[in-house]
């Protein structure tokens, strides 16, 4: 019995009797693998894990950039977080944005995917139309919408053609939040739509044929076959949409700057204000920790709940 397993031809091993036995082809493969992944690994260490660690470190400090002060304050920033009078409003705005975005994005993406999955003329054109905003630069897209949503902008101009008088979209607390959500949904719905479309096209036709023979109607087929079969994609899209919704920044910055009042000041924007406008990087880092915790908890919850409703995950 030999403990060394080698993929190399026996003849080669025999031709190098002085070579150490541990330098096997398997180890060479491992080393090659590590070296190939090293750039990505180094990038992750340098640009993800290191900043993450520093974020926790900074959150225990008072770091005033202008004054040049960087002093250990223990849990002071966390105490401040617990007592921050602005935080409930910020978390409320964050929740409103996330819930609105996830609900509208996923439902619209699914409806569009179902419609565009029909064998009708022109579906390729519509698929392109709905997907194209995904490829547009986010800030450019948002700036155009800022003009469209002005009081005298294109949206209200269109409404006036039909005799309706639109609100001042970005100046009302509710309409501003609705506007930010809709602009973001229109930007990214195409991505989820394509994922749903791929999932829908992967559902075996035999299942529909069998259920039709059994007398199932369209709604029953959708509920009993389509939804379970595409549930892994629903899980995927919901996770990336929830995480993405919590990271919204540019849209808020360009469209509303967190206003009117603080109605669209979501957590990332509040974090940005504290760190980069108020020069309080310590508290900004503490808010980042909170954001990290929220994203982590929501993702873990979604991941754990998949067993209850995602096919093949039990």
């Amino acid at each position: 019995m030999t403990a060394v397993k080698t993929d190399a031809p026996p003849g080669r091993e025999q031709s190098r009797p002085g070579r150490p036995g541990w330098w096997t082809a398997r180890r060479r493969d491992h080393l090659a693998g590590f070296l190939f992944t090293a750039p990505q690994l180094a990038g992750t260490l340098l640009f993800v894990l290191l900043p993450l660690g520093l974020m926790f470190w900074y959150s225990f400090h008072d770091w005033n950039v202008l004054a040049g002060g960087f002093t250990w304050t223990g849990g002071e920033n966390y105490e401040r977080l617990a007592q921050d009078p602005a935080l409930p409003g910020v978390l409320g705005a964050t929740a409103a944005f996330s819930v609105g975005l996830v609900a509208l994005n996923l439902s619209l993406a699914l409806v569009l995917a179902i419609l565009l999955n029909q064998r009708l003329a022109g579906t390729i054109v519509f698929r392109t139309i709905f997907f194209s905003p995904v490829a547009v630069t986010l800030v450019a897209w948002t700036i155009v919408w800022r003009f469209l949503l002005q009081d005298d902008g294109g949206v209200n101009g269109l409404l006036s053609v039909f005799g309706a008088e639109g609100p001042n979209w970005l100046r009302g607390e509710t309409t501003a939040m609705v506007s930010v959500v809709v602009v973001q949904v229109l930007k990214n719905v195409g991505l989820n739509m394509v994922l749903f479309l791929a999932a829908l096209q992967g559902v075996p036709k035999e299942l529909y044929e069998a259920s039709t023979i059994d007398g199932a109607g369209a709604w029953t087929r959708f509920r009993r076959i389509t939804m379970p079969m595409i549930s892994p994609t629903i899980l995927l899209t919901s996770i990336i949409t929830v995480v993405g919704s919590l990271q919204v920044f540019a849209q808020i910055d360009v469209l509303t700057s967190g206003g009117p009042g603080t109605s669209t000041t979501v957590l990332v924007y509040y974090l940005y204000q504290n760190a980069f406008q108020f020069h309080d990087f310590g508290y900004g880092a503490t808010l980042s920790v909170l954001l990290f915790a929220i994203v982590l908890v929501l993702t873990v919850i979604q991941w754990q709940m998949r067993r209850k409703w995602v096919v093949h995950e039990d």
Binding site: A25, R28, D29, L31, A32, F34, L35, F36, A38, P39, A42, G43, L46, W63, N64, V65, L66, A67, G68, L149, Q150, D151, D152, G153, N168, W169, L170, R171, S257, G258, G259, P260, G261, T262, Q273, F276, Q277, F278, H279, F281
Partner: protein, 422 residues
């Protein structure tokens, strides 16, 4: 052979991520870096000309780089550079950040360097212009731009609405806010274009409204910065007047509407004289006049930009020396081409006129020279960024047609009182 190629390729790829950070010695000539918020080719050409002349006489400095940052978010970008250990040597500083920069120790004291520089004429600096940039007697930044606000007027639009020109109103002693809004409303009614725009306000940059409320004797907070002034009767009266001008008389564009005076979209705009360059190709007749009088009489508001050396600069001594050279009397005249200087001896129509060929000596005299000494600087306070955000958020409810002005302003003070006393 296969494994050998794999290893070779991987080994070749790995160093790509091991980009070493370069670190040069500081023994040789240094390179200075200065951040600005202007990317104007003319401005940069002038700055480079001054820098080249300095470098020619100073072998210890081999290069001076001017690094324009976007005006929007300028201070945030600057502080991020500082936080990232990438601080410039010198920086333009916005007036609303002045108290934070001056009081925090972020800037190198300049008085000794400037007054000790031969031929600098330190005493020529106007105290009113340097006040914001001093702590006690110590000067922390040089106010390279001290520019009063004025009103640019589109005489063609006024004439189209049957209104007298600004010059005629001034001659008749009618250049008041009330009359200006009346004329603006008439223009809006007659032509559909907007009457008067307070530039850069845009229902967000509220500190620009000091160009209006100072006419009522109002102020954002007391001189010592401790007491909120938004709920004072003068402020309530001033902002009620403005609210009425926007929503009742429609003399000013409402929130969410943009109008650019320089594109002919408004009859009048309140801004600084440095914007005159935008009128080089204007196809309408225009004038520049002082701010209208308010119930409290005539007044002036000044916008400033400071130039300082950062304490954490890589080369603070060389930077301070360059600052002294850049702002000496000779170079100050060059800077005056674009930025009204804080030097008393240079505040003449002749010096300013070379810079602003579009403006007449009379306009410069009336708007700049006569007003700079008595001007009130736009509101600024320690912790300005937080105050800025808090006031903007609290003022938002004011910009609806049915707003309770006094109620909004009272709540505003409740919101910012803790920040004022911090």
């Amino acid at each position: 052979m296969k494994h050998g190629r794999q290893l070779l390729a991987a080994a070749a790829a790995a160093p790509l991520v091991l980009a070493a950070c370069g670190g040069g010695g500081d023994d040789g000539p240094v390179t200075l870096r200065m951040t600005t918020w202007s990317a104007s080719e003319d401005h940069l050409a002038m700055l480079n000309e001054i820098a080249d002349a300095y470098i020619a006489d100073h072998p210890d400095v081999e290069a001076i780089e001017f690094d324009p940052l976007p005006f929007e978010g300028y201070t945030s970008t600057l502080t991020t550079q500082i936080a990232g250990d990438n601080a410039p040597d010198l920086a333009w500083i916005l007036e609303n950040s002045a108290p934070d920069f001056v009081s925090s120790g972020a800037l190198v004291p300049l008085s000794e360097t400037l007054s000790g520089t031969e031929g600098y004429e330190y005493d020529d600096l106007i105290p009113a212009a340097t006040e914001l940039w001093r702590e006690g007697d110590e000067l922390y930044a040089y106010p390279f731009s001290t520019s009063p606000f004025g009103v640019f007027v589109n005489n063609d639009l006024l004439a189209e609405a049957g209104q007298p020109t600004a010059a005629e109103l001034i001659a008749n002693g009618e250049w008041t806010w009330e009359r200006v809004i009346e004329a603006g409303a008439a223009v809006h009614a007659a032509t559909g274009t907007d009457g008067l725009v307070i530039r850069d306000f845009d229902y967000s940059g509220w500190d620009n409204l000091s160009t209006l409320w100072t006419g009522w004797g109002a102020q954002a907070w007391s001189a010592d910065g401790a007491d909120c002034g938004f709920d004072d009767p003068e402020m309530t009266e001033a902002l009620t007047f403005m609210h009425d001008a926007v929503f009742e008389q429609e003399a000013m564009p409402g929130p969410g509407t943009t109008a650019d005076f320089f594109a002919g979209e408004a009859a009048m705009t309140v801004t600084q004289i440095s914007r005159a360059g935008l009128l080089a190709e204007a196809e309408f007749g225009w004038d520049l006049v002082p701010l209208p009088a308010g119930p409290a009489g005539e007044y002036s508001v000044i916008g400033q930009g400071g130039l300082g050396v950062l304490t954490v600069a890589p080369h603070p001594e060389e930077a301070a020396d360059f600052l002294a050279y850049m702002t000496n009397p000779e170079n100050s005249v060059k800077l005056a081409q674009y930025f009204p200087p804080p030097r008393e001896s240079q505040l003449t129509a002749e010096v300013l006129g070379q810079a602003n060929p579009l403006l007449t000596p009379e306009q410069l005299q009336a708007v700049v020279i006569d007003r700079i000494d008595s001007g009130v600087v736009k509101p600024s306070h320690t912790g300005q960024a937080q105050l800025d955000q808090a006031v903007r958020a609290a003022l938002d409810p004011l910009w609806t047609a049915d707003a309770d002005v006094a109620g909004v302003l009272a709540e505003l003070c409740t919101a910012i009182d803790p920040l004022l006393t911090q």
